[in-house]
Each structure stands twice: as structure tokens, then as C-alpha cells.
């Protein structure tokens, strides 16, 4: 049987358990890139939809936005950009706000704002799609 190497003070158990005081790893890094890749085609599609709707009245805009393909694209667009912007704003807050309480409050506010924007936008699209 091999003796466990004691070149480091960290115990093998701590290494198995994972990330120590950091608690979490590359989750945000990966999700920021995942949503960045998703944002590219979704933004192009959303821009095309918005240009298509320019100059149309509310009835026409509502009909196009509520049609299945457009509604689903817009929902995906909103989900992806709000997930992306939440992580991005958290990085900005963590970079510039060094007071612990203020930082926590702003990170909470960031989450609330992002979810509110996402749900309000999704509500509009669902209302247009289902006519409730």
C-alpha cells in the first residue's frame, strides 16, 4: 500500500471535498461563456425581429410577437441575456465595491433586477401568445 503523500498540508479528504474556502469553482466562468455563445445567434434573431416590427402598429406587432416561432426565440433571447448580464454585473460589483455589506446588498439587488426584467419580458410574450 502506498503511503499518502504529505507534500502538502491539505488532507486528502479536503481535496476530495473540493474547493476549500472558495466554496465554488468555475461555474460562473463557464455559464458566462455558454450564455455568450447562445447570445450571438439569439441577438441576431432578435434584432431581425425588431427591424421587421418597425413602423407596424400595435395589432400587427402583437400578432408577430405572439406567433410561436418569434415568441420562442424572444423567450430564449431573454433567458440567455438575463442570465449573462446577471453574472457580468456581479463581476463588476465584486471588482469595484469593497465594503462587504454594500457588496452583498448590490449582488442581491442585481439578482432581483435581473429576475424582474426576465419575468416581466416573459410575461409580455406569454400574454401576446396566449391572449390572456
Amino acid at each position: 500500500m502506498n503511503q499518502p503523500s504529505l507534500k502538502h498540508i491539505r488532507t486528502p479528504l479536503a481535496r476530495v471535498r473540493g474547493l476549500g474556502a472558495a466554496h465554488s469553482g468555475t461555474g460562473h466562468f463557464w455559464r458566462q461563456r455558454l450564455t455568450a455563445v447562445a447570445n450571438i445567434p439569439l441577438t441576431i434573431a432578435a434584432v431581425i425581429i425588431i427591424v421587421m416590427l418597425l413602423g407596424r402598429n400595435q395589432a400587427a406587432a402583437a400578432q408577430i410577437l405572439g406567433s410561436p416561432l418569434v415568441a420562442i426565440i424572444m423567450l430564449l433571447f431573454i433567458a440567455s441575456i438575463t442570465a449573462h448580464m446577471r453574472i457580468g454585473m456581479q463581476v463588476i460589483i465584486e471588482d469595484y465595491v469593497h465594503d462587504e455589506i454594500a457588496k452583498l446588498v448590490l449582488i442581491m439587488a442585481n439578482t432581483f433586477f435581473t429576475i424582474a426584467v426576465a419575468l416581466a419580458s416573459a410575461y409580455g410574450i406569454f400574454k401576446l401568445s396566449f391572449g390572456v
Partner: protein, 136 residues
């Protein structure tokens, strides 16, 4: 408890102001600023969708704002920020693969980012204004 000693006045590491501004650095800052602008601009996206869902009166209010001078300026800036951040994001994804870091490559990438974002914004607004039946 013993008094905590004041920390020794150690030299701080140099920060932004000691560096000569370079295009790559400026574009890095622009990427963050456009990202923050897009963040708050999503309120307009939510307003537009809710207005379309609310009916002709609500939509007319949004259209009045979007057609006003200040509204158009904000939307023009928003268009540029969106395209600039998207192209900047593509540049960062290229850099994530380890490519494009050579002295001329990185300068070329940031220049393409800036020129591309301005060109696409102008193109989109030209198409948009034509779609609306010319500038009003």
C-alpha cells in the same frame, strides 16, 4: 485586547493611470461599459414587450418615447452598445481558445471590433429608417 498596529505604508501595485492608453485596453473598458449599459437598457426591452401586450394605448406611449429625439439617441446608443458588446464577445471567445494574441493580431481584432460595430449600427439604422418610411 491589544491595539492593532496601523499597517505599514507599503507600496501599492501600479493601477490604470500609470499606463499609456492603448486600443486593446480602451476596448476592454468599452466592453465593460457597453455591458453595463445593455444591462440597464433591458428595462426598455421589457417595457416594449409589455406595451405590445397591453394594447394600442400602451404601445402608443412606447412609440412616442422611441420616436422622440432623446428616445432615438438612447436607442441608437443601445444599438451600438449591443453590436459592440456582441463583436467584443466574439473577440473574447477567440481569445479564450488561445488564438489571436500576437501583437498585430490583437490590434487587428480590436480595430475590427470598433469599425464593425459602427458600420453595422449605421447599416441597421439605415435599414430601420427605410422600413419606417424614411426619417421623420
Amino acid at each position: 485586547m491589544a491595539e492593532t498596529k496601523a499597517p505599514a505604508a507599503r507600496p501599492l501595485s501600479p493601477h490604470l493611470q500609470i499606463y499609456r492608453p492603448m486600443l486593446t485596453m480602451t476596448m476592454s473598458i468599452a466592453h465593460r461599459i457597453t455591458g453595463a449599459g445593455l444591462y440597464f437598457g433591458t428595462v426598455l426591452l421589457a417595457w416594449w414587450l409589455l406595451a405590445a401586450a397591453s394594447g394600442p394605448n400602451g404601445y402608443a406611449k412606447f412609440e412616442w418615447f422611441a420616436g422622440s429625439l432623446i428616445g432615438r439617441l438612447i436607442l441608437f446608443g443601445y444599438t451600438w452598445a449591443l453590436i459592440h458588446h456582441m463583436l467584443g464577445g466574439i473577440r473574447h471567445l477567440i481569445w479564450d481558445t488561445g488564438r489571436g494574441f500576437g501583437p498585430s493580431e490583437r490590434e487587428w481584432l480590436v480595430a475590427a471590433n470598433l469599425i464593425g460595430s459602427i458600420a453595422i449600427t449605421v447599416l441597421l439604422w439605415t435599414v430601420g429608417l427605410l422600413a419606417m418610411g424614411g426619417p421623420r
